[in-house]
Amino acid sequence: MAQSNFDRRRINGPEESFQPTFEDDDDRETRWKPGNPRIGRGARDIRPIFLTAGLINQANGSAYIETEKTKIACAVYGPRQSKSTTYNEKGRLNVEVKFSPFSCTRRRVPIRDAEDRSVAVQIQQALVPAVRLELLPKSTIDIFITIIENDGIEGCIAAGSVAASAALADAGIEMLGLVASCSAAVVGKEIWLDPTEEEGKASSGTLILAGMPALGTITSVWQSGSMTPADGIKCMEACQERYTDIHAVIAQSLLDNAQNNT
């Protein structure tokens, strides 16, 4: 059975792979225990962001984002003519996400998983309201996102949306505003912004908020796990406060890039 969907085109790793476990891994004092404050940073702090636009020169526009252990590259191609046979008054925004095989603690099998598609849907939803697709009839914009390293899927989605919006602006595609995105997790009674993978596992529920701070509008809210409505609203407020800072980071990197090009 395993032979039938054996992938002959790629170098195949072992069927199962596990992280090496270290003896002192479990009884480390640095491990977070319920009731303790967050380790490493404040509850409402996000990881530092490094963002540059225009890294991939054969793409129409591109961006690279790094927030500690999350590393994402994004390329935008188009607008190009739609391949579909139906006439479309509005343009189409196509988002494709790929995890590198080594991006997570467990090896990612290139084709067989579905998580990349759900991440793509969420990023697409965050971006669509911002792009002026009505100006691009019969055209398609392709966004390719490669997750080089993943530290928390929520952070990946948020950083992916940020990178994609920077890449779209770099590609000279008309947008209503820049999209910024931030994630939050409810851990115990606290709200932690931009959770890592560890912290995501320790949390009861997570929320990802995307919007255009320049216009004061929200483009997408994505909540998973359990969360009281009051916590949900608190998370959204915290995210909204923080993504204004993220917006400033995007704006600065795009300005630097624009000045280097002139």
């Binding site: 479309n88 602006a169 008309e174 947008m175 216009l215 795009l254």
Partner: protein
């Protein structure tokens, strides 16, 4: 200079007086004029716009350059390479169609596609409409529109001798084309 560059979503300060018309790269929402592209806003007459240097898809009234890829008695199919003077990246061409009634403005009923275009000719055209799902409708019904570059059967670059004819400098043979008026004449 840094303060002059605006980013998508950023409001553009407007001097007192009448609100300018919004051009490309600019939009107006809730009474505020905002940028939708990265660039320096400038006035062209009374329109405020941000010029885009990146390639864009063809729109009605844009002047395009393309090469003829397929001919039929009813239409010529062109692969559009340049839109409003901005070349498109390789592999991202748009397809356009010149229908027999759009070749020239006069004697439309006497037009024969085979006497106007040949495969490989470079044509300057004007986009009429978005056309159908597959292609844009392009017209050459103007003096400055038509074939601007063509090679003869012998392989030499031909020169236009009249509105409907081109001559091969190698063999002296005349071939029929719908020629564009050369620039600067």
């Amino acid at each position: 200079m840094s303060s002059d560059i605006v980013l998508p979503g950023q409001p553009i300060p407007i001097p007192r007086g009448p609100i300018p018309q919004v051009g490309s790269g600019v939009y107006s929402r809730d009474g505020t004029v905002r940028a939708s592209l990265i660039g320096v806003p400038s006035y062209a007459g009374s329109t405020l716009e941000i010029k885009r240097t990146r390639p864009r898809p063809p729109a009605p009234n844009s002047v395009v350059l393309g090469s003829v890829t397929r001919l039929s008695p009813l239409q010529a199919v062109v692969s559009i390479n340049v839109v409003d003077g901005v070349p498109l990246p390789a592999g991202e061409e748009f397809t356009g169609v010149i229908r027999v009634q759009d070749v020239r403005a006069t004697e439309k009923d006497k037009v024969k596609i085979a006497d106007c275009f040949r495969g490989g000719d470079v044509v300057r055209g004007l986009v009429l409409s978005l056309g159908d799902a597959r292609s844009y409708y392009v017209t050459t019904a103007r003096n400055d529109l038509g074939v601007i570059f063509a090679t003869s059967e012998a392989g030499a670059t031909m020169e236009p001798v009249s509105w409907q004819e081109m001559r091969c400098p190698k063999t002296g043979k005349i071939e029929k084309r719908k020629c564009a008026k050369p620039e600067g004449m």
